[in-house]
Symmetry: C2
Subunit: 167 residues, 2 copies
């Protein structure tokens, strides 16, 4: 398995010659497999998503909004790993905790002034290693400027929605 | 297990009496457990996130951006289920496929004009059941106005970031 530094060097070289090499198509698909349980394919993986009993599920797996935070927390961790390698900052581990406020009145249409999504999100990260607090602060600044899922949370993404009715 | 209609009725009643009943705190936490593998807790569940070899991982699990799409696809499915019950639209199943464009030059800092997150996202849904195309179109409109993760993708969410250095 190539190291993070190998991957950065190889990708940087490949993209310098052909920027199309940097284009990735990410996808998933699936359907309802229970009252509110969804089963999805993602590459060679199968992922189950469910809801707690309070939302008519069986808590067989995390829910959609949980997976959104899992995406953010893990993206932060990976971006710390990559940018630590890029900036030459030693990083032994990084702990990430994410929490978010959700007001179900938005989802359930009980108050039009309440957005359906998260009202606010809070991230706490603890980078671990021998470097100074200043170096980890510098690393954090680079991470937050380049973390794909933090960008997804912080800024609007154009979404095109198409509905097909089954034959 | 209560039905979706039971949950909607009970939550609507509870929230009418005390809007604090609609407030949910969603959270996850964990740390790097491999080169780019992260292991996170979400309620009683443990979720592993990895990357493909092209990003220095072992493809042990979907990656952060994959989980972001899994969150969106499953949230669409659950929101179809809830709003079908709310609007009295019969729904046997819903298929959801999501794809997104990602340009790794943003993540890797190779071009400052490229955003780190998704450039665009496309959702295709196929609601299944005996209703007319018009009824499913009406349902889709309600779903897209109330889907928490679609809101997260489409609109900015305030994110507060705090870094602590390990003692």
């Amino acid at each position: 398995m190539p190291s993070v530094s190998d991957v950065i060097a190889a990708t940087t070289d490949a993209v310098a010659q052909d920027s199309a090499k940097a284009q990735v198509l990410v996808r998933t698909s699936g359907h309802l497999t229970g009252t509110v349980e969804t089963t999805l394919r993602s590459g060679r993986h199968t992922v189950v998503v469910d809801e707690p009993a309070a939302l008519a599920g069986e808590d067989a797996a995390p829910g959609p909004v949980d997976y959104a935070l899992i995406a953010l927390a893990s993206c932060q961790a990976v971006t710390y790993r990559f940018w630590a390698a890029k900036l030459g900052v030693e990083l032994e581990d990084v702990e990430v905790a994410v929490e978010a406020d959700l007001d179900l009145r938005g989802f359930l249409g009980l108050n039009d002034d309440v957005r359906p999504g998260f009202g606010a999100v809070r991230i706490a990260v603890t980078p671990k290693g021998p470097e100074s607090a200043e170096r980890y602060a510098e690393l954090t600044e680079a991470v937050n400027a380049h973390c794909p899922v933090l960008d997804l949370f912080s800024n609007p993404t154009p979404v095109e929605h198409r509905v097909a009715v089954a034959a």
